[in-house]
Symmetry: C2
């Protein structure tokens, strides 16, 4: 792969009149939650979906559709008026606006399913009738339908229920509620887990997670919004401490019985990536040890719960991180696709049920980001990858038979394609640095493309900063790192400007992409208006650049990516307009950790920092994520010490503002408070602010206040 | 009373050489907890006490004594060496330094009692023998001996025990422990209550408090010093909410039985000021309703627990606040002294047991601060008052027979006299604005005085600011208010200086007294060194100025005393060297409330404020103190609204730093956090800092950090 030094430069200012350039954006315009924020979001198709192969979308109070060629069909699919007639006829509560629909994948079933007044309603929009009404209970969440819609699994509190088509409700959970959680996501949503129920292909069996947290310590959050402050406990297993215990059960609605998979090994292991075989006789589980350096892909017999065999294993001296369940080639009980980083990049592999690797389907110094679909015939795997550029995302298909791959999205940028039921067309909403948003309908066979929507630049009347993207070499001398550089509005190359580095640099992140304005944050634009140079770089440790690039941070977070950030500083110092004496830094979460880390490791470089929701001591972070990157505090004491900001507090020279939400259940406020305690002890003077009632991120309109607060801090001490 | 405008001016600088004046004091020198703080404290007599009539005190590893004339007796009373010999002989653990002793009041008993290695030891220093060793249990606290030392009552956790001379331990408490507290102080130490056990005069009966807190809500403090943050609950009844229920029991060690006083009325009333009659047949209780506007002084029969009668009542349209138990004239079951503010100033009254007022013993526009002693013959009451000046404290005696009173302390200042057993002499340690500390032995009959110790000025080598005390008129146009004004070191009358008001201004406080340097705080000196004018004024609401002066704040805290503080500002603005555009304000607790209140009520006046442990919403403060001054939130909604800083948050114009200890059990951190929440909502920008692990005050060496933090804030925004 080749990278040129400066890849893109976005100079929107050039296309505007002098008058228009006078207009400035407010934080309310620029920050999510701001009063006028939505006015500045590029227009997008609303509620895009497919009913079988027909593209449908919302337009006002109607659901409209387009034919395969992309032409609008004048007759609405659904209107609010008609829907309310149907609801009234069925003696159901009417609606003031269209609900969120799930459309049938069967063109013979003109059905849209939605939730209304504690009923799951199936609306036949051809006959304008409610054809099914399944009642559900107050507090039911996470509705998970089986493939033929004869059952829906629901969570209620910690319990798990299924409801059949007649509305009959059966409890799957058997233990007393409390600290045992049934049918919900486990392992804190790591390993790609985002739900807790998995219907069998035929829909008559329900695999589910059961998580016992009785042995996990509570972290006590305090809700001061109550008349008198009250504790809200959250189960929080900290690195090295006792973790929860997960099991997988299979419930049979016909018998009312549950068979548990008889997994082996220490109970704090990880049971991930549940997958049914098409004949639903077996379940595959990717099992990891607590150390996360060894994975077995095991097969279980559904009837007995007995382990049949280990298909294969993956080990690492760092970690393995399976995030994608096995996907079987439709109609074939013996072939599945597996995603693995074992060759250094996440790619697709074809395996059989003896655990033999049939072939590697993709390879190269790029990554498969996700599988979108395997077509019904089992011929093609549709997937997203960044093969064309590390900062882009395109849709490809690869032939299962011969590994031949075809790129399906044409224009540069970050694409979000949505396939129809038969994979003959897809709707692609994408953006690029100079493309606010564009939606096209594409024929997967011939590539024929129809433009559905092309958004205007929402900032066209405003004076905008110049945004450029480029690469520099990482501290390893080899890797290319992507940066985004934003120069002040009304830039004068003869002036010296203060600069603020915004960073995250943690795993599973990518701040710079070839999407609209290079994924710049509104606050960067705001600060560029105020005369700051804004800079962000994705150092090693970040996503989509391959295994070794990410794992460079292993067991010593903050060190290597800190060196990469300093490469960014070196680059900034080569820019004649950057004032090296006025360098600030800001980040949140891992970025808050990095902000503090940079300020304390390179105190001569950074004058001002604002660290939001920062990890200050990895011992206080949770087991799943924390131990993957840092190991156990007992076996990696040096790494925990090096990465502990408390141990570096005495290095503080500049101004450092810590910000925390007092209800943060992710990075608990203990991190910031312990850093303050240590700062008091060693006689340094950080600043602190709390957003009461907020969790790990300050959301809603308060986010505008947050950014004004951050801005003032830099204005006070850096400007 | 007459006040002159400027009462005192302390100009220590004048007595020093030019060279010496160059030296500056650090925060470590000036702040309690600072590394060198103790070096700057005026020398005082260590562990002063009387063994019967003989004055004893510690000198190194010896207890020395003086005769009645004040001459040092060469032979030590106790030496560590001898004591350890006695301990060794008794096979007890030896000591590395002298313990704290309680000396016998009987000259025939050369006994000193102390605690060592879970024994209460009685040391006969004449024979050099341990003559009694009573074992106690781990966790025993609050040792309360009966008058003849045959029993000691102790707390252990929530339980109450008595231990007899043989070491036999009997539990008085009977309920399961948990939220029922036995034998401890109740009503959050209001009404002068500071303990929970009250031995009868003959020592064979124990009256005690039992406090049921099961119905009181917990406030959850979070200890982040633990490996994983953990809740430390504290029972905290907030204004208007359910309060605890107190009863008084009388335990008879001879029978092991407890009789409870059969008090009447709502269970959340206040049972205060327990007093035994000399014949120990009856107990007097001052009982207040929850509203605290009515008090009955009731008499109970000890044998039956039945109420015999109400001796008299005191009512108020504001509040009554008895803080001193009835004191019987020795040997007379029918005459007791009662302290009351009913004539507008706290004075002494003689009552009989029918409830008749025999006579008012003291009167005038000054207050009796405390009764020190009634002599054994019942002739004189020794008491402290501020008759000579509101800002002084002197010892007087008043004749019970005719009310004639005699002043016993001569020099101006604040006196802390300690009487000997027969009230023939007292040792008085006192200070005044220009007297660091002086100790004298005084003969109560003839006033003959011997100086025991005269401390040097600990600051004599340092350049000190000028400190002056004066009065101005309050906003009521009538009351005189005392202020303390400190001008910068190296003062130049032609310059303009920033000024910082330090204030408290809550009930039961007095910031300005005629004690050493007018009770200036070390931080004031520090800031005066840095070029700030420092100013403090005791507005209405503060102590020792009479009932109406204090009660001016009733049901609308912040309003009247706020006006008084503005009178102080008016005065400051008359000073040519004060820069009216640079006025800051700082206070803690009630002073933190007032700081915020002044900044938000008079935003045009105050540019910078630092509010520590501030009450922000009186609904969140506790029942006992809060409802006395503010009534119930339901019956005084206007007052609670006026005094609620949240409702004024939008007025914030200047810079306001809030500081809180996260373990504060007095003004819980909910106050500051709720103010932040409201500030975010209305779009204002206070600052915030937390001292983790600290309670209502930041103590120990961290207090130096605190004051550096506060200093930097004023330096950043006011200087």
């Amino acid at each position: 792969m080749k990278f040129i030094k400066s890849l893109f430069i976005l100079t929107i200012a050039g296309i505007m009149t002098v008058d228009a350039q006078q207009k400035s954006l407010t934080l309310d315009d620029l920050i999510p939650g701001g009063k006028t924020y939505n006015q500045f979001q590029p227009e997008r198709i609303k509620s895009p979906a497919f009913w079988a192969d027909r593209f449908v979308f919302r337009q006002g109070d109607s659901i409209m559709s387009r034919n395969a060629a992309g032409s609008l069909i004048k007759q609405p699919v659904i209107t609010l008026g008609k829907l309310n007639e149907a609801l009234q006829a069925d003696q159901k509560k009417t609606l003031k606006g269209l609900p969120a629909f799930t459309f049938s994948t069967d063109s013979k079933k003109p059905y849209a399913v939605f939730y209304n007044d504690n009923f799951i309603l199936t609306y036949d929009f051809a006959t304008n009738k409610i054809v099914k009404a399944i009642p559900y209970a107050q507090g039911d969440t996470a509705f998970d339908f089986n493939p033929d819609d004869t059952f829906v699994a629901v969570n209620n509190g910690n319990k798990l229920f299924i409801i059949d088509s007649e509305g009959k409700r059966t409890e799957v959970s058997t233990d007393d509620p409390g600290d045992i959680v049934w049918g919900q996501s486990v392992h804190r949503n790591e390993f790609g887990i985002n739900k807790g129920t998995y219907w069998s292909p035929k829909g008559n069996l329900l695999a589910f997670y059961r998580m016992d947290e009785t042995m996990v310590r509570d972290y006590p959050l305090v809700n001061v919004g109550a008349r008198q402050g009250e504790v809200v406990n959250t189960k929080y297993p900290m690195a090295g401490m006792t973790s929860h215990e997960v099991t997988v059960g299979v419930f049979d609605p016909a018998t009312g019985k549950t068979v548990y998979l008889q997994t082996e090994g220490p109970k704090d292991h990880y049971l991930t990536n549940i997958a049914w075989t098409p004949d639903q006789s077996r379940i595959l589980l990717a099992e990891l040890n607590r150390e996360q350096n060894h994975m077995d892909l095991n097969v279980y017999d559904v009837k007995t719960g007995k382990k049949l065999k280990t298909l294969f294993s993956e080990s690492s001296d760092k970690y393995v991180e399976p995030e994608n369940p096995a996907m079987f080639i439709p109609g074939n009980d013996d072939r599945f696709v597996w995603m693995s980083e074992k060759d250094g990049y996440k790619h697709l592999y074809l395996y059989d049920m003896e655990g033999n690797q049939i072939r590697q389907l993709t390879s190269g110094e790029w990554v498969v980001k996700d599988i979108v679909r395997i077509d019904k015939k089992g011929e093609y795997i549709y997937y997203l990858s960044n093969e064309t550029s590390p900062i882009e995302q395109h849709l490809y298909k690869v032939s299962v038979k011969d590994g031949k791959r075809t790129k399906l999205t044409a224009e540069p940028g970050v694409h979000y394609p949505r396939l129809n039921a038969s994979a003959t067309t897809f709707v692609d909403q994408y953006s690029a640095i100079d493309v606010p948003s564009k939606a096209v309908l594409v024929n997967t066979s011939n590539g024929k493309t129809n433009t559905l929507l092309e958004s205007a630049n929402p900032y066209q009347e405003y004076a905008m900063p110049e945004i450029s993207v480029g690469t520099i070499k990482a501290a390893d001398g080899v890797s290319d790192l992507y940066y985004r550089l934003t120069t002040p509005v009304d830039f004068d190359p003869n002036k010296k400007y203060p600069v603020i580095v915004y960073l995250y640099n943690g795993p599973h992140s990518q701040m710079i992409t070839n999407s609209w304005q290079a994924a710049i944050r509104g606050w960067d634009i705001y600060m560029a208006q105020k005369g700051y140079v804004m800079f962000t770089i994705d150092g090693r440790g970040t996503d989509f650049r391959g295994r070794d690039f990410e794992q460079a941070i292993h067991k010593q977070v903050g060190v290597e990516e800190g060196k990469d950030q300093m490469k960014g500083i070196e680059f900034l110092k080569t820019l004649p307009y950057v004032d090296a004496d006025r360098i600030g830094i800001h980040g949140w979460s891992y970025g808050g950790f990095m902000t503090t880390n940079m300020l304390l490791t390179y105190p001569e470089t950074f004058k001002v920092g604002v660290a939001g929701g920062p990890v200050m001591d990895w011992k206080l972070y949770e087991v799943m994520y924390g131990e993957r990157y840092m190991g156990n505090p007992e076996t990696n004491p040096e790494g925990y010490e090096t990465s502990c900001m408390l141990d570096k507090a005495q290095n503080l020279q500049g101004r450092l503002l810590l910000i925390h939400g007092d209800m943060d259940p992710v990075v608990v406020m203990q991190h910031s408070l312990n850093f303050l305690r240590k700062s008091v002890e060693v006689g340094v003077y950080p600043d602190f602010f709390v957003y009461p009632g907020h969790e790990h991120n300050v959301r809603g309109n308060d986010r505008v206040h947050l950014h004004e607060k951050i801005t003032r801090y830099f204005d006070d001490y850096l400007k």
